[in-house]
Amino acid sequence: MSFIEVENVSKTFKVSKRSAGIPGMIANMFVPKFEKKEAVRDISLSIEKGEMVGFIGPNGAGKSTTIKMLSGILCPDNGTINVNGYVPYKQRKDYVAGIGVVFGQKSQLQWDLPVIDSFELLRAIYRIPDDLYKKNLDRFVEMLDMGGFINQPVRQLSLGQRMRSDIVAALLHSPQIVFFDEPTIGVDIIGKETIRKFIKELNEQDDVTMLFTTHDMQDIEQTCKRIIIIDKGKIMYDGSLAEIRSKYGTTRQLIAEMNQDMEVASIKDIIIEKQDNRKYSFTFDNQVVDVNRLMHTILDTYNVKDVTVNEPEIESIIQKMYNGEV
């Protein structure tokens, strides 16, 4: 049996439905109406130890619900889940001692206390041995560059700083499995980059099994080899990233706006188009050209005012799937 084994799992929520405005409210007071929302429908998947899996889909696709069932918070209506020999929702207390979960939307830090105090509390909760705690803390703080704000109260941190602290909080007890639920949401480019690098390193060095939800394709491309695409509670695709990438195309477009009128010299493997006197588009294949290097080349060579990179969005991939193109 695989490390994480999910079989035919479904979860339905009852959501209150009422028509808008005061008449709707009054009607609802006496005759409440509910409708069933199938958040997850008949999902099966298996993940091996040490794997890093990207779990993507648009908002409301059922990603978070799946993560919550896998982490023992929610109980599936049907089907079975088995992770490392545990049934998460039945053996919650023992099970969660060995996993780590990061919810991008919810912090598990103490709002009023310095970050380090939250870590100390977690050390007591998880009964982390002193040497392990110190080793992990020093290592993570260094990797995520947190030295500057570890003594600040959580409420005074920027979103990126808080997210990094939350990631460390979930990892202090050296879990074997980590679930990330949108760990880069609302974080700026540099912050995202740091987080991705950290996650990747951790997976490679410590053989931690990871499941990673996001709707940012960049997150997945830089970290995962395997992806699962989910939409409307169903798995649309489960396989290697390389495969789907080659299918949906790897073309990217970088648009640079210059500070003054200028001509741009040609670059190898890149199609350059002039949009107006100051605006140029650089179209390239991101398997051939490294975006970072291209961006540096352009920034170093020209007097650039603004740069944007366009990429196919997850919604359009799913749209393509519906149309049978993938």
């Binding site: 919810f103 939307q105 919810k106 598990q108 009023d112 007591a124």
Partner: protein, 264 residues
């Protein structure tokens, strides 16, 4: 070793209590005002009489002082679960490898210890100084009073625990908690001493957990009841704690399956 996380929760709750100083002083004032009003009302009711149905005015005063002071440190957060369900933070709570009930109790106890030291004791001393009350009927009675008060807290906590489990279905449990608290106020003897209840009423109250909260300890303190009855009080308290906890636990198991995590 097994207690470490719970001690950490209790300590955190104890420390965070000290952050709201004004609230704390107002709490003591609140206890004193209520005490003063209740005592004055009964003073005028008693008039010049020595005793009513064998109950003296000082016994009434003692009942009020003890039950209101106990009430001041019997900290129970009625909205512990519902607030966490309401804002979705139940998700992160459930990720901690500790028992949710244990954590809830530890947090409440941390607050209770804080209130015992900084609310109960000052309020009690002020009350003894300004109003005056009877001494315990004996050293044994005093020890049993403390034991019974601890079990009284257990009963109060279990009632709240059971009702809190309804949060899984209702999410907002404010109204139910308010009704529950009215019942506790009226039927536990902290507002109307149970001696003065009509016969049929005290018969009914005997079959509820409410008298076990404040009234049983007070009776023991005053030495109003004999050894057999004291034993009965303890049995009742323990049985109520068990019954309420079992119902609460069953609701918890059922509720967990229904749980919704709000907000993404």
């Amino acid at each position: 070793m097994g207690l470490t996380p719970y001690l950490a929760f209790a300590k955190k709750s104890f420390l965070s209590k000290s952050a709201y100083r004004l609230d704390h002083w107002m709490g003591i004032l609140n206890t004193m005002i209520r005490l003063f009003i209740f005592v004055e009302i009964y003073k005028s009711l008693y008039g010049t009489r020595e005793a009513v149905d064998g109950i003296t005015m000082t016994m009434v005063t003692t009942n009020f002082i003890l039950s209101l002071c106990l009430e001041s440190f019997f900290a129970v957060d009625d909205f512990y679960l519902s607030s966490r369900i309401n804002n979705g933070s139940i998700a992160t709570e459930m990720l901690l490898p500790v028992s949710f009930h244990g954590r809830m109790l530890a947090t409440n106890l941390g607050t209770a210890v804080f209130k015992l030291i900084f609310h109960f004791i000052p309020a009690l001393l002020l009350a003894i100084f300004f109003i005056g009350m009877e001494a315990p009927a004996g050293a044994g009675n005093f020890v049993l009073f403390i034991l019974s008060a601890i079990l009284g807290y257990g009963v109060l906590w279990s009632i709240s625990f059971m009702f809190q489990m309804l949060s899984f279905w209702l999410i907002n449990v404010w109204a139910i908690m308010t009704i529950k608290n009215v019942f506790i106020n009226v039927l536990s003897g902290s507002m109307i001493p149970l001696w003065f209840m009509p016969k049929w009423m005290s018969g009914v109250i005997n079959f509820t957990p409410f008298a076990s909260i404040y009234f049983s300890p007070v009776q023991i303190y005053l030495g109003n009841i004999g050894a057999a009855e004291i034993g009965m009080c303890f049995v009742k308290q323990i049985v109520w704690i068990l019954v309420l906890m079992i119902i609460g636990k069953l609701l918890w198991i059922k509720g967990q399956k229904k749980m919704v995590v709000q907000g993404g």
